[in-house]
C-alpha cells in the first residue's frame, strides 16, 4: 500500500497524561451534529440525536477547539489540557 493512503492522523506525537479537557453537557445538546461534521479527528458521533465524544479523545484530540467553537447550544466545554501535556508538533 502507498504510504500516503494510510491514516495521516496517526502522525501526531504527544507527551504526558492530559486528563479530561473536553466536557459535554448532554442536557444542552440539541443533536445538531456540527461538532461531528467539523472534528478533524472524527472523534464525535451522533447516537439517538445526541452527540458523543469518543473516550479515546484524550489520546487522539489535537486541541484545535473546533467542537467548542461550532457548538451553538454551549453544550461543549473545551479547555486546553494542562501545561506540558498533549500534542507536540515538531514540524509545524
Amino acid at each position: 500500500m502507498v504510504e500516503s493512503e494510510s491514516d495521516l492522523r496517526k502522525l501526531v506525537k504527544r507527551s504526558g497524561e492530559t486528563g479530561e479537557f473536553i466536557r459535554h453537557n448532554k442536557a444542552l445538546c440539541t443533536g445538531c451534529g456540527r461538532c461531528v461534521k467539523i472534528c478533524p479527528m472524527e472523534l464525535w458521533e451522533l447516537k439517538k440525536s445526541k452527540a458523543f465524544i469518543s473516550p479515546e479523545y484524550v489520546e487522539k484530540c489535537v486541541e484545535c477547539g473546533s467542537c467548542w467553537l461550532v457548538c451553538e447550544s454551549n453544550a461543549i466545554e473545551f479547555s486546553y489540557p494542562r501545561g506540558g501535556t498533549g500534542v507536540i508538533w515538531e514540524y509545524g
Binding site: 502507498v2 504510504e3 500516503s4 493512503e5 495521516l8 492522523r9 496517526k10 502522525l11 501526531v12 506525537k13 507527551s15 504526558g16 456540527r34 461538532c35 461534521k37 467539523i38 478533524p40 479527528m41 472524527e42 489535537v62 486541541e63 484545535c64 477547539g65 473546533s66 467548542w68 467553537l69 461550532v70 473545551f78 479547555s79 486546553y80 489540557p81 494542562r82 501545561g83 506540558g84 501535556t85 498533549g86 500534542v87 507536540i88 508538533w89 515538531e90 514540524y91 509545524g92
Partner: protein, 463 residues
Amino acid sequence: MAKYDVVVVGGGPGGSLAAKTASEKGLKTIMIERGRKIGDKSSSGCGLAPRIFRDFDFIKKMNIPGIKIKYQSMHMLDENLEERFMIRWSTSDLAEYSEAREFFQFDVYRRDFDRFLAGLASEAGAEIRTATLASGVLKDSHGKVTGIITDKGEKVEGDVTIAADGAVSKIAYQAGLRDKWRPDEITLVVDCDFQASRQRMDELIGAEEYCNQVYVSPLYPATYVAMMPEGFHVGLGQWVGRFASGFGERPYEYLRRVISSGTLKRFIDRLQAKPREFHAHLLPWMPRMPTNTYGGGIMLVGDAAGFACPLEAEGIHYAMVSGKLAAEVAAEAISKGDTSASGLRVYEERWKNSIIGEEFSAAKEWAEFWAGIYFDPRQWTKITPLANNLMFWASWSNPHIRNLRREISRYSEDASFILEFVKSYIYPLLRKSQVPLFRSLLKLGWMWLRAKKRKGIQLEAEG
C-alpha cells in the same frame, strides 16, 4: 503570589515580541507557555514574509534552517485531479525593497522560529515559564483584568496582561472581550508535513526555483504546498461555518482526496516524500475589521485578536507587529499609572493606523474573493475549462484562425458567468484599490486612437 508589570500569555511570535519589547522597556515581564517547550503547540504557520526582514532588524541574527521561496504557482485540476492549467510567476520588480524582490516567503519550521524569538525575549530579561497553562484570568471588583491563574492554581498578577494565546484565546473569552468567533470569522486548517531529501528536492525542483503552490479543483477547497527545509507542507482550510453546516466534505476527507491521486500525488511520489506529522488548527480569517482588542488591564495580539491577513491568513508578521505595539502601549500606560480600558485604548488606535489596519481596510473584499472562488470547489467546474481554453488557438488540431474563432465563441457563450464573476469578486477589489476606472478607460481609448499601426513585417535588420 508573583507580581509583574506585564504578563504575556502564549509563547508564539506575538507573545515573544510583546515580552521582548516590554523587557527592553524595563518592565518586569513573564511569558507563560502551555507547551512543554516553546514551539510545541505551533502548527503549520511557516512562511516568513519579506516585510518581517524589513521591519525587524534583529532577524539578521536568525540562524535557523529555512528555504527561500522565489516562485509561486497556481494549478487548476479537473474532477480527476489532473492538472489542466497552471501559472507560475517569480517575485516582481514592483516590490519597493530588496527582500521582497528576492523572495516571496522564507519558509521555516515554527519550532525553530518560535524558539529563536523566545530566546530574544529571554535575553532581554523576560522570565519564561513553559509547561504552564493560563487557565483563567484574575479580575478586580470593577472587572479589570489583574493577571492570570495557572492550571496549578498559582496566581500571577500583572498590571497589564497581553493575550497572545492564539485563535482559540480562552483568555479573551474569559476576560469578556469576545464571545466565540462567528462562523465566518475563523477557519479550520488541516495540514500534513511531508519529509523529503533536500538533495532530491534540489535536483528535481532546482535549488534556486523553490515554488509555493496553490491547487484548486472541484473536489476540495484551495490547497497549498509550502516547500520546507526538510520537505513540504500540504494543507487546506475552510471557514468553520461551512464545515459545520455540511457545505462540503469533512476536513480530513478533503485532505485524503488531495494526496490520493492525480497531479499532486505524483508530485509527492516523485520527491519520494513521506508523511511525517499531521496538524489541525483554527486560523482567524476575518471578513471585517477586528474589534474588542483591548479592555481594562488586557490587550489581545496576533491570532487572539484576529490579526491574520484576510486574503491568505498569514499571521506571523501581524502577530509580531501587534505584540510590539501592545508592549509599547503597556509601558506608556504603566508609567502614567492608568492601565484601565481608557488607558489602553490607544492600542486600538495604534494598530488601526499601522500596517494591520491598512490590511483590514479591505477585509471584506479579500475574504469574499477567497470564499467565493478559492474555497468554493464548485467554481472550478466552470473556471478551469475557461482557463484551459485560453491557449486553444495555439492547438495543432485545425488551422489556428479556426481554433481562435471557436475559442472566442466559447467565451461569448460563457460571457454572463465571466461578467458576474468580475462584478462579484474583481470589481469590488478594483474599487477598493481606488483605481479611477472611468478615467483609465478614457485614457485607454485615447491611446487606442493615437496608436500607430505597424507597417509590414520586418524580416531583416534595417541598414
